[in-house]
């Protein structure tokens, strides 16, 4: 079997294992109860998602210096998977906030920054979808991948300054309500496992998405070739026109 298939199987197996451990082996956290269990994956998704955007940023810079379609595919794949993980982060964070902070939503620094990052990378995907020509698409996506990523820390900083003037955290400000908690040894072990799992899931999804972009490129080349052959031919068959559009 291909190595991509093995990577996907490994990621799925590790995800199943760590889910089982989190559900059945991890102890119940004292101050938050069962909902704390999502934190193993919430925290991992948060930082791995940002790493995805970071890769898009770095790959974008390299692309602008030395263009190569492979870099573009990698940047597109990590941006898309990073977006998925960021959405997971905000949604699970919001669900956790309901019992912990007694509200679904608060303009917390991290929640807000992630929401704005999500909007930036949704824009990135919109941009890719609005350009036909592959090299132009790659160039513009690289530019936006760079500009968008630079604004994320500035957004974080401005929200943080804003929050320090208008505190909006509802409920207590103890370490628990900020997401920190005392860890038993087994918990520390599962925390590490959840990070490794998320990294592997990220790698598997990115590799699969990359493969699809590569396939897409081949199909586009095939299509161009077919259109070429068809225009060389005097007779038009209606069947081909529908596929070749």
């Amino acid at each position: 079997m291909k190595s991509l298939t093995w990577l996907n199987i490994a990621a799925a197996a590790l995800l199943a294992t760590s889910l089982a451990l989190v559900w059945f082996a991890a102890p119940l956290e004292a101050s938050m109860g069962a909902v704390q269990k999502i934190f193993y994956f919430h925290v991992a998704a948060a930082w791995v998602g940002m790493v995805g955007f970071l890769i898009t940023f770095v790959v974008g810079i390299i692309y602008l210096i030395r263009p190569n379609p492979k870099l573009d595919w990698l940047g597109a794949a990590t941006a898309e998977v990073g977006l998925l993980l960021s959405i997971i982060t905000t949604v699970t964070g919001s669900i956790w906030a309901r019992p912990a902070w007694n509200t679904w939503w608060t303009w917390d620094v991290r929640l807000t920054t992630y929401t704005i990052a999500i909007l930036i990378y949704v824009g990135y995907l919109f941009l890719r979808g609005a350009i036909e020509d592959p090299t132009r698409r790659a160039r513009f996506a690289a530019v936006y991948g760079v500009v968008g990523f630079i604004s994320v820390p500035l957004t974080f900083l401005s929200i943080r300054l804003w929050q320090s003037i208008h505190p909006a955290v509802i409920g207590t400000a103890t370490p628990t309500s900020q997401g920190g908690f005392d860890m038993a040894p087994i918990m520390a072990l599962i925390v590490i496992l959840a990070q490794v799992t998320t990294v592997l899931v990220f790698a598997a999804l990115t590799a699969t998405r990359y493969r699809l972009l590569e396939l897409q490129d081949q199909v586009d080349a095939q299509r161009a070739l077919a259109l070429q052959a068809e225009s060389d031919l005097p007779s038009h068959s209606p069947a081909t026109a529908s596929v070749a559009k």
Binding site: F126, R139, V147, I150, S151, L154, L157
Partner: protein, 224 residues
Amino acid sequence: MKRYFKVIGAVVWKDLAAELRSRETVSAMIVFSMLMVLVFSIALELNRGARESTAAGVLWATALFSGTLGLNRGLGREQDRGTLEGLLLAPADRSALYFGKFLSSWVLILAVQVVTVPVLSVLYNFNLAQPLVLLSLILGTLGYTGVGTLLSAVSAQTRARDVLLPILLLPVSVPVLMAGVQSSGGALAGEPWSELMIWFSLLVTYDVIFLAVAVMVFEAVVGE
């Protein structure tokens, strides 16, 4: 070096002369701004007792949204008329073209504020035209136009360009909006400079970073 500034001047002059003749972009932006002020007044039930922060928010939202109109026209018009290729053929550094486009858009956006600020002052019955508010507007629109010029060059060359520019530009401009609203709102509320300084430094930081990045990558957006 002298040539470089000449090119910038020529681009700015060409754009502003065309705008002075037709006045179509700036008048559309002013009308749009007035409509937004009206919409906000109705939606938020603003009156003479409106708080300083609300006035600052309306001012900034109006500036940013009318700004996208101007930015969309700037390079979109060149693209429509096919004059962008001509500009690119000119034997000049691409960054000179960027600065020229940036300055002409910035002048338009500031010109619209010259109308919006007095109108808002009259409507809400307190003077918005205070030095710090104006400084905040100048610094904020500088960074906004800086990124906006780059992203309008991007969106002008795509299929969905009029829709795409705000989608790309607004999330990236969140720091400007935040720092702009906080600095001008604070100034209106009479907060001391020591409180406001942090927001002005954030505006300057944003301006420097984004102008530098935009200049560096502009070539990739317009050059083949």
